[in-house]
Symmetry: C2
Subunit: 569 residues, 2 copies
């Protein structure tokens, strides 16, 4: 019979062996005693890259960033008590944006629960229905039967974090003391006897009959493709554009759709719809059909346009069959892999397409693009960003204003760039940590290009603890400082007496001090004119850089209003 | 028919009227759009003091501090999406330490749920069984019937946050757009028609028969009273000490018991048991009975002593009947108000008490107190703290080492002081925010004395965002900087190769920069000798002050080991 510490280590190893054989490569660990066996096994496992983060809230968002970039599940480890509770915001985001996470919370053994033992809470189902699955694991027993169970469970939870809908899976793992063997003689041995379960992923396609019906529908009239936020695959972007060409229709491409930047970009890709759809003379025109991919787009004007298209046949294509339709106007929900969908349709002939409909859109796009180029400080910022970034760079955007400015002013280009955001729950939380996780993953995989965060000042403050990890990465954080929740200036609450105190909530932080605290090189652009040169300097560095751009929120609002007005006249 | 915005405001007012009539006085608000009606009503309600906090995690811990100090429920308000998710750690703490909180999460209306609308997640039962109750509220209807429902619900949830066991209650409240009326003409009108539900609180006492049986038991042999962490009431402390006198037994008083400091303190109060119970020659003596109040004590040595008392009759008195016994050795669980319990027993005669048993304990206590006074840097720090603080001051301690040092070295005194900690889940989280909430509550109530936080460097980093609110309070934060998770030096993990990276996790933050970022006056004590003078300076100020005390963790461990050794020889 082995001692308890050795049993704990062995138990952790059997589980983690299962995870690794199914593809695990990264683990984010927060310090603690109860989780020691899990930590030590991950640390000594050659296949796992570990990252240590003190604040569990940051750890989980960092893991989210890693998992998003790698498109692979990442393990997160914490000790018992309130520690795993800090994961909830990142779990909510992972759940809603479909990012695979494997959450391993260490726990006290059952006999210490609910009897006043220290750092002990009920950790079962701690995240309710925000996780895909929850498993309460047994204590270490050291039997062959348990080894087999753990090996297979590890593989199983990796699978469940990806299928049928990617997301977080929570395993709660009790450990009895002593937590580790008295003498440290644990060397990780490769478990060559372990063979992976062969896992056949489903290919979701259309039947011939479905295709023919669709072709008939799409060939019968004017249409619009709307590409909303989605994970980025050059192949999918290309497939959607090819379909748009074949149908001769515009693609209203969200900044997070993965379609605005890359070699596939043609005149079919439209990006200034948030402005030109505000023109009632134009938006009165409704397509006969609308084909949507991805989540609901960022643009409010586009959302309202969709809603106004009451006589349009609305089709949504989603790989996971998600009912993404807050307007409740869906006519068809097609559950199908998007590339498959496009490629199947591309093999048909469409005879009724004509250029007139498309031309109306492209003319508006071109006219608006000219007006947009000098519309406001933010448009200058974003153009400079897009222009100066090297190929293959990644822009991570915070929600609220940052992503809306990208929507309005990024335009599109054949230069390959990625723009992503945490658009699952669209919170202002966890942005710095997600950015750091993305940068760490790209560094590890040797990805070319730069990593840039476009972060509002409130979002930066909300996840300031994330700077501890961000400071160690090669990335550039652009803080758009408009003195608080600038987006509220765009809302009716801005006329209230209590506006500043309760909605705008200025924090008055000096970001040069924030940067200095974390040894991050700092630049301040008092006006947007100063930005390009500072950004050029930051781009030449290999460490973490922060550029603060000061924006006057009231002036910005006036500039935006003026711009929208010129688009509607 | 009123417009939607007015209906929303009216709805919020009816609910908050109910809360106020049942005693609500404080609301902590995080900025957001969906929660606008709740925010505006609280802001304009004369009976409610509002506090605005950007980071919802801090907001909830700040509310916990307010609620602890006032012993009254506090409202916390957030917008929809991942925002309320940040409350979970504070909710876990409130649940386990029995602190009443009323959580109001604004939500989108049902027709926008689960269909891809922005910032929308399933918020029902978001906190699982960590809250006492969950209510999903309806949409605003503007009927008299709904008004009555909301008025009573407000009163009801205040009651449920206090009885039968204080804790958090969650209300999820959907609002349709427009969220507020177009023209702001809302003035809060006092709802004089509303009459409070008369609420008779239960008085939990012992029957005569129960008393007689207990007297028989307690009078028959040597006993020990153990007073664990509990909320502080001078009356209760006094009642326990009077009982100890009558029974002529020692009280092993935890630093968080509320018994170590105050006019009630006599030689019956022992505080150095963590050291002298390590002496096997002494701890071999087992009492015939053990009477426990409050939670399990902080001291590990005391915990082990309790466990070793296998032939002792273990009695636990708990006002809420909580089964607080991780050693599984309980003979009697008495559900009774502690003051009632003591006072009822005090009316009986005890004839078999003698001083010999008590003397053994008091001799050990006195001898250890002498050794403790110069045991280590921490003992000097804590003696200085206790000596220099004015009467009625409050010390809030972080968990891990800080509270253990207080346990070992605070001793006791007739000077009235309070020492508290978040001992529900004993996390390293939320400490700065809880401290700020405590200070805000004491300021509001005009409480005398100073507020001091004794915070480890890791705990300070974990809740650094809390400094935004703490910086506005009159308080002193003492950061004990031992370069990371110093407590891990006391654990077996310290011998591992990966110890520093995975357990100690030094962050290398310069706390002078932390203080400067938040405009907090800063002092650094490179050695403990420098502390008293710096502390004196800080005590003379009316704003937020931070003193960093540098502790060499390895030297500290050696000092502690030596001290414990002298106590066991």
């Amino acid at each position: 019979m082995k001692d308890q510490g050795s049993l704990n280590l062995q138990f952790a190893q059997h589980l983690i062996d299962g995870l690794v054989i199914a593809g695990l490569k990264h683990a984010v660990i927060s310090p603690g005693s109860r989780s020691s066996a899990l930590t030590l096994v991950c640390e000594r496992h050659k296949a796992i890259q570990t990252y240590v983060q003190i604040d569990e809230r940051c750890a989980a968002f960092f893991a989210l960033g890693l998992a998003r970039e790698n498109n692979q599940p990442v393990v997160v480890i914490s000790t018992s008590g309130s520690a795993p509770g800090h994961w909830l915001p990142a779990i909510i985001e992972a759940n809603h944006s479909g990012v695979p996470l494997i959450l391993l919370s260490a726990d006290r053994p059952p006999e210490l629960l609910a009897c006043g033992a220290n750092q002990t809470i009920d950790q079962t189902h701690l995240f309710g229905n925000q996780v895909r699955h929850f498993y309460q694991l047994p204590l270490a027993e050291g039997t062959d039967k348990q080894k087999q169970y753990l090996n297979q469970l590890g593989q199983r939870v990796i699978n469940e974090s990806k299928l049928p809908l990617p997301g977080p899976v929570h395993l709660n793992i009790p450990f009895r003391e002593p937590l580790l063997p008295e003498v440290d003689n644990f060397i990780y041995k490769n478990n060559s006897a372990l063979s992976p379960v062969v896992n056949s992923y489903p290919l979701i396609t259309l039947s011939e009959q479905q295709c023919e019906q669709l072709v008939q529908r799409l060939d019968a009239g004017k249409g619009v493709i709307v590409a909303g936020p989605d994970s980025h695959h050059p192949e999918r972007a290309q497939a959607i554009i090819q379909l748009a060409h074949k149908l001769n229709v515009p693609v209203l491409a969200d900044p997070l759709s993965g379609i605005r930047f890359g070699k596939h970009v043609t005149e079919h890709v439209l990006t200034h719809y948030d402005a030109f759809l505000r023109n009632r003379d134009f938006s009165i025109q409704q397509p006969e059909w609308m084909l949507r991919f991805g989540a609901m787009p960022v643009s409010k004007a586009l959302g309202q346009y969709l809603q106004s298209c009451k006589h349009t046949h609305h089709i949504l294509v989603d790989s996971y069959g998600r009912w993404r339709d807050p307007n409740h106007q869906l006519a068809e929900l097609i559950t199908c892999d998007v590339i498959q969908f496009c490629q199947q349709l591309l093999s048909y002939e469409f005879i009724n397409t004509n250029s007139e409909w498309l031309d109306k859109f492209t003319q508006e796009e071109q006219a608006t693009r000219l007006r947009a180029s000098e519309a406001c400080d933010e448009s200058l910022l974003i153009q400079s960003l897009i222009k100066q970034l090297p190929d293959e760079s990644l822009i991570f955007s915070s929600n609220s204003l940052a992503v809306r400015e990208l929507d309005s002013f990024s335009a599109c280009d054949t230069k390959p760039l990625s723009i992503i955001a945490n658009r699952g729950a669209s919170g202002i939380d966890g942005n710095i940590s997600t950015l750091a996780g993305l940068a760490a993953a790209r560094k590890k995989s040797g990805q070319k290009g730069k990593v840039v965060g476009l972060i509002g000042d409130l979002a930066c403050y909300h996840d300031m603890n994330g700077l501890l990890a961000a400071g160690e990465q090669e990335l550039i954080i652009i803080v758009i400082n408009n003195g608080g929740g600038g987006i509220f200036y765009h809302l009716p609450q801005s006329s209230l007496t209590e506006f500043e105190q309760d909605w705008l909530t200025p924090h008055n932080l000096d970001f040069s001090k924030v940067a200095s605290l974390y040894d991050i090189e700092f630049y301040r652009a008092e006006t947007v004119d100063a930005f390009p040169e500072l950004f050029e300097q930051a781009l030449s560095k290999k460490s973490c850089q922060m550029i603060e751009l000061i924006i006057d929120p009231e002036q910005s609002l006036q500039q935006h209003k003026k711009y929208w007005q010129t688009c509607t006249n």
